[in-house]
Symmetry: C2
Subunit: 422 residues, 2 copies
C-alpha cells in the first residue's frame, strides 16, 4: 500500500467473504462489490481487529468529522476529510402521527453533509483508495449525489474526476457535479459500465465503487446510537437502490452489538420505488440474489442499474423487510416532510413513506424509529419548472394572483377572500 | 406576551437602544431594525440577565439544536427548533495558502443547516414571535435563503407564509421557497416594502424582520468558540448585506468576552460586493448611517435593499473593516472553495475573497481566521444553464467530447491526448 495511506489508527486488517465467512482476503486491494444486471457481486466486507477497539470511541459526542471513527474505518487519506457526518437527528412527533406511528420518530437528515448527501461518508473512504493507488483520476456513474460527492473529494485529493450521468439528469444537478471541476458525460445508462471499464483501463482511473466505500456508512449508525443517548432504534428505514447504505448502516449497528456497546440491533427496512423494488421482489421470490428491474420513478436517485447481495444480507441478518412504495406515497411523504421544514428529494422522502406503509399494514414498533433522508429537494426532477407568478403591485391584483396560484391552501384562501371582490 | 412563548430558560429581559445605551425598552414587542433606502433604522438589541448565565453553557459540545443556547436567546416557540446550527467548522490550510494567509483558516459552513443557510438561526427566533403574536402568517421579501427558511419555520408553526421575490430570482430558488408551502410573489423590489406593509395591515401577517431574529446568529459565535477549543478567532469574515449576520455574530463574541468566558473578541470583517458596498462607502465617507446603493452583482443574495446601523456598530466596536469586493474576486474564491470540496453560492464565497483581498493589501492576522460561508451553490444564477454534453459511447468520440468541453483542465487534457488522434 502506498505510504500516503499510513494511518496507524485504522484497525482494518482484511476482507472477509460474506457468503463464506471462513474466506479471508487481504485488506489491499479493495474489492468491487458491484455487478451488472447479468450477475451478482462478490460479497465481501472489510474486517477489523475488533479486540483492540477502545469502547470509549462511542462515548464521544457525535460531531462532524468521520476521522473521529478512524479505528473502525479503512485507512483514510490524510487531509481528505472535510467534517462530513455528524448530521442532525431531528425529533419528528408530528411526522410520527402522520405515519401512524405510536412512538418516537427521528429523521436522520443526511442533507447536512458537505455536498448535502450521505454519499460524502462513502467517498471519504472511496477516494482514499484512489489516492493510495496513485490513480490520476476517479470515474463513476451517478444520478447526482454520488457524482457530486466523488467530484468534491477527488478535487480535495487533487485528482481528475469523470462522472457519467444519464442524459435526463436535471441540468441543475449537472451544474452541481461540474462545479467541483468534474467532467460530466451524458451517456445512455446501458453503455456506462463499458465506458467506465475503458476509462479505468485506458486512462488508469480509479472506479469509485468498492468494499471500502460502504464502511463510511457505518458512522451513521454510530452517530444515531450516540444521538439517542446510547439507545438502539427499533427500526431504521433506508432509501434503497443497490443497498450499500442499507448494508453500511446495518454493519455499524451490528458492530456496536458485537462489541458489547449496544444491547440490541435494529430491524433494517429497505424502502424501494415500486417500479423497481429489486429487494422486495427477490425476497418475495425467495431468491438469493437481486435482479435489477428498470422502471420509471420520481425517486430517480435510487434507480441504480447495478446490484449486489449486500442488501439481502442486511435484511436477513436484521430480520428486516423490503417495502415497495408507489411514487404517490413517496410524494405524500415529501410534502409531509416539507410541511415540517424538511425539503428532501423524493429518493430521500421514500423512507418516511415506507414507515407509513408498514404501519398501515399493521406493523408495530416498540421503541424509537429512525427514517434516513438522503439529500435536498434541489435535486429533484421538475425543480425550477414552475416559477412564481409575476404580480403587479396593486392590492386587488396581488390578492387575485395569490388566490389563483395558491388557492388550494385553505388558510391563505380564507385570508384573501375579503379582498377578492365580486 | 402569549403563553405559547413561556420559556423559563430564556434570560431575555428587554431591549436596549444601541445609540443611547441608557434607553431601555420592554422585551415585548420585538422592534423592527429595518429601514428603507430613505432612512436608517432604530438600532436596538435584546438584552439579558447576564448575571444569571451559567458559564457551563459554553462547555457543551457544539451540536445542532439552538435550544441548547436558550438562556441567551429570546423565548423560543416550543417544538419549532429542528436541530439547526451545529454546522461544521472545516480546517482549510490549502485555502489559507490560496488567500495568502500565514496561519490557521477555518470555513464555517452554514450550508449544513436545515434549509442549507444561516437564515435558519434567524427564523427560529423570528417565527417564534409570529407564533406568540397569534398572526395567521408570516411575510417577508427575500432573494431566496431567508424566504425558504422563513417558509420552513412558518410551516412548522402551522402558519401561512408569503414571500416576495424579485422577478429575476432563479426558478430553482422559487421552487425551493414554494416547496415549504409558501406563496411566492414576483414583484419589483421597489414596491415590496409597500406591499409588505399592506399584507401586515390587511391580512394581519407578521413581518419576519426584527430585533429577535438577529439573536439567533449569536449562536454561530458560541459554536466557533467551542469548535476552536475555547479559542477566539482573530478575525471573522462575514458576507454582508444589511449586516444582521455581522451584528449577530459580533454580539455573540462580545457576550462571550463580557461574560468572562473568552479572553478577547475578534475583528469583524464585512465582505460586500463592490457594486453595492454600503458599509464600505459609509466608513469611507465617515457617515454614521448606511445608504443603500443598488448595483448588479453575482452575489445577488447579499443585495439587500434595506439597511440598518447595526453593521457599522459591529465594525466600530470590533475595530473591523468593510471590504469592497469585485465579482471576479468572489468568483475566484468560489472556484477555490469548490476545489476543496465546498460548492458555496457566490454570496457565501465572498468572505474568502475578502480575506484574500485584505491579505494582499498587507493585513496580517496572528491567530485563527474564520470565513463564514452561507449557502450552497444551488442558489446561484446560471445553475442548470449549461448541461453536460451528450456523448456517443464510441471511445474516440468520448475522448473528443471530454477534450472539447473540459480541455482547460490541464491534467485531464494530458490524459486524453494519446486518444485524440490526428
Amino acid at each position: 500500500m502506498d505510504n500516503t495511506l499510513e494511518n496507524d489508527v485504522s484497525l482494518a486488517i482484511g476482507h472477509r467473504s460474506l457468503s463464506d465467512l471462513e474466506t479471508r482476503l487481504p485488506l489491499w486491494p479493495p474489492i468491487s462489490q458491484q455487478a451488472t444486471a447479468s450477475g451478482t457481486s462478490y460479497p465481501v466486507e472489510v474486517t477489523y481487529a475488533y479486540d483492540r477497539v477502545d469502547r470509549q470511541l462511542f462515548a464521544q459526542p457525535p460531531l462532524p468529522g468521520l476521522e473521529r471513527w478512524a479505528p473502525l474505518l479503512p485507512p483514510l487519506a490524510p487531509g481528505l476529510s472535510m467534517a462530513e457526518g455528524g448530521t442532525a437527528l431531528v425529533p419528528a412527533p408530528e411526522l410520527a402521527a402522520w405515519a401512524g406511528l405510536n412512538g418516537e420518530l427521528f429523521i436522520k437528515d443526511e442533507s447536512r453533509n458537505p455536498t448535502w448527501s450521505h454519499k460524502d461518508r462513502f467517498n471519504l473512504c472511496s477516494v482514499s483508495v484512489a489516492v493510495a493507488t496513485g490513480a490520476p483520476g476517479v470515474v463513476l456513474s451517478s444520478s447526482g449525489n454520488h457524482g457530486a460527492s466523488a467530484a468534491a473529494y477527488a478535487a480535495r485529493a487533487g485528482l481528475s474526476c469523470i462522472v457519467l450521468v444519464s442524459p435526463d439528469t436535471p441540468p441543475a444537478v449537472q451544474s452541481f457535479v461540474q462545479a467541483y471541476g468534474a467532467a460530466v458525460l451524458a451517456v445512455p445508462p446501458a453503455g456506462s459500465q463499458t465506458l467506465i471499464r475503458q476509462i479505468v483501463e485506458r486512462l488508469g482511473y480509479h472506479f469509485a465503487h468498492h468494499s471500502w466505500g460502504c464502511e463510511g456508512y457505518k458512522t451513521l449508525a454510530y452517530e444515531v446510537f450516540g444521538q439517542l443517548g446510547g439507545r438502539v432504534p427499533t427500526a431504521v428505514f433506508i432509501p434503497t437502490s443497490n443497498a450499500q447504505l442499507l448494508f453500511g448502516v446495518w454493519k455499524g449497528f451490528r458492530e456496536l452489538h458485537e462489541l458489547g456497546v449496544a444491547a440490541s440491533t435494529p430491524v433494517m427496512m429497505a424502502c424501494e420505488p415500486a417500479t423497481r423494488a429489486s429487494h422486495f421482489r427477490a425476497i418475495e421470490a425467495n431468491q438469493d440474489h437481486v435482479e435489477i428491474v428498470e422502471g420509471p420513478t420520481i425517486a430517480y436517485a435510487i434507480g441504480s442499474s447495478v446490484s449486489s447481495t449486500l442488501g439481502l444480507l442486511a435484511l436477513r441478518q436484521s430480520s428486516g423487510v423490503a417495502v415497495s412504495i408507489l411514487d404517490d406515497e413517496t410524494q405524500a411523504a415529501q410534502v409531509a416532510l416539507a410541511g415540517r421544514g424538511m425539503w428532501q428529494e423524493a429518493s430521500g422522502a421514500i423512507s418516511l413513506a415506507g414507515l407509513r406503509q408498514v404501519i398501515a399494514a399493521g406493523r408495530r414498533f416498540d421503541g424509537p424509529v429512525v427514517c434516513v433522508t438522503c439529500s435536498s429537494g434541489f435535486k429533484d426532477l421538475g425543480v425550477g419548472r414552475d416559477p412564481a407568478p409575476a404580480s403587479e403591485l396593486e392590492w386587488g391584483l396581488v390578492c387575485r394572483t395569490l388566490a389563483r396560484h395558491y388557492g388550494t391552501q385553505r388558510a391563505l384562501a380564507e385570508q384573501l377572500r375579503p379582498f377578492l371582490g365580486a
